[in-house]
């Protein structure tokens, strides 16, 4: 019985790996027939935000999931419409147009204000305005702001939905049968949650770890899930945690929580570091104050740089195939594809590890900073 179940497990894992490898292979099949291949532009397009979820391009046709564009303007107020109205940069709607990924506003007497095929250069030459938060909030008539649901925001919402589905069902299972052994999804989540509680929260924070445990668990699972989401091919290439704004917000959460729950000892360590002679304090205090701000910035940059660098490396290995094919002919492309594929798969596996590791390091450091903030005096 046990041998049968481990056999099934091995077969399932093997099938999963094979599918993953084959999917990697078919990633090369598209894209070799559209003129000169610009690796830099392709990589940037995958790593940056977009107003639709671009799934695949077959020949001339782009297949993508449109996302809502939400624009607030001082002239027109709120405009909500799907990004499919932009026709991938060829159309204008309500005087809004997509110029190289940015939404611009065409002038008010522009005849192409609502058309399906737009000559961007001609339309722009008749006057256009760009997004300006300062302009909007100062009441300037041409000011408008872009608060659309972009691909990154859609990725965040997708991560939230996944987390809610998993954890609400696990919590309900515990509520229904509180004294029974865990079954199913519970047995997957329980060791991980206990790992965070026993290895990260308790040693770092000490007595009051329960106050911060929900925050630490949320941060950990959100970053882990968002990282994994960015690694799944063919669903549009999300890059949630690889967006510096998202990483910054997560770090700001830690910063706000640390600063708000800091006790006298914490501020005492900053403004009167124990064991430091008085004449050295004018040097230590600015350093400590800078430390208060650099710690969240470092958290943000570490997460952002690790994830973005990983994506760029994988994309670069795949682009190598097309670069070689363009330079030296199709045979060179096929030849390089073996090496590229091997490295690409290896980097993908490495990125799976990095996804977990970066989530763990972010949570561990947040726990350490929180622990330092609520530390009791012990001399």
């Amino acid at each position: 019985m046990l041998k049968h179940r481990t056999d099934k497990a091995f077969k399932a894992i093997f099938l999963l790996l094979t599918t993953f490898i084959l999917l990697q292979g078919s990633a090369q099949a598209s894209g070799s027939s559209d003129g000169q291949f610009d690796a830099g532009e392709m990589i940037m397009h995958h790593v940056m935000d977009a107003h639709d979820i671009h799934l695949i391009t077959l020949g001339d046709h782009h297949y993508s999931i449109p996302l809502p564009i939400i624009m607030l303007s001082n002239e027109d107020g709120l405009s909500v419409f799907l990004s499919s109205k932009f026709h991938h940069g060829l159309g204008a709607y309500n005087r809004y147009a997509l110029d190289n990924g940015h939404v611009i506003r065409l002038g008010s007497n522009n005849p192409m204000a609502q058309s399906d095929s737009l000559d961007m250069a001609a339309a722009k030459s008749m006057g256009f305005s760009e997004e300006s938060w300062q302009g909007y909030f100062n009441g300037r008539p041409s000011g408008f702001i872009n608060v659309s649901i972009t691909k990154t925001v859609a990725g965040i919402l997708l991560t939230v939905v996944i987390l809610l589905l998993v954890f609400v069902s696990v919590a309900n299972a515990y509520k229904r049968a509180p004294n029974e052994a865990p079954r199913g999804l519970q047995s997957l989540m329980e060791p991980i949650v206990l790992f965070i509680r026993d290895e990260v929260a308790k040693p770092s924070i000490g007595k009051h770890y329960e106050r911060f445990l929900p925050f630490l668990l949320t941060i950990f699972f959100f970053i882990w899930t968002a990282n994994i989401l960015g690694l799944i091919p063919f669903i549009g290439g999300f890059n949630v945690t690889g967006n510096i704004a998202v990483a910054l917000v997560l770090a700001v959460f830690t910063f706000i929580l640390t600063t708000m729950s800091a006790n006298r000892n914490y501020w005492g360590h900053i403004f009167a570091t124990p064991g430091v002679p008085v004449w050295l304090l004018p040097l230590m205090i600015p350093i400590e104050i800078m430390g208060v701000f650099t710690k969240p910035v470092v958290l943000c940059l570490r997460l952002f740089a690790n994830i973005t660098a990983g994506h760029i490396i994988i994309l670069s290995f795949m682009s190598l195939i097309f670069i070689f094919a363009n330079q030296y002919g199709a045979v060179a492309g096929y030849g390089v594809s073996i090496v590229s594929l091997a490295f690409g798969i290896f980097m993908n596996m490495m990125e799976l590890l990095v996804a977990f590791l970066q989530a763990y390091v972010f949570t561990l450091l947040s726990a350490l900073y929180l622990g330092a903030a609520v530390e009791e005096h012990h001399h």
Binding site: E199, L301, R302, A305, L357, Y360, V361, L364
Partner: protein, 82 residues
């Protein structure tokens, strides 16, 4: 004066970015190599602590890599911004 105007040429920024990225990677390599080396030594001295040592090694490596990534990001910004 000639030297100054030559050195302000934009091409040197790209060269600087490339060299900077390389030096940052050297720093990461040295740091993580030392972490790995001392971790292996201590694992050999005390095989019961292998689990703890492995966990600490990975965490320390992630932190050192973070420092290297700052350098990489600065170099990337040099190349991508005007």
């Amino acid at each position: 004066m000639e030297i100054i105007s030559i050195l302000l040429d934009a091409a040197y920024a790209y060269m600087g970015a490339g060299i900077g990225a390389g030096v940052a990677t050297i720093g990461a390599g040295i740091g993580i190599g030392r972490i790995g080396g001392s971790a292996l030594e201590s694992m050999a001295r005390q095989p019961e602590a292998i689990g703890d040592i492995r966990a600490s090694m990975i965490v320390a490596a992630a932190l050192v890599e973070g420092a290297a990534f700052f350098g990489i990001i600065v170099c990337l910004l040099i190349v991508l911004m005007k």
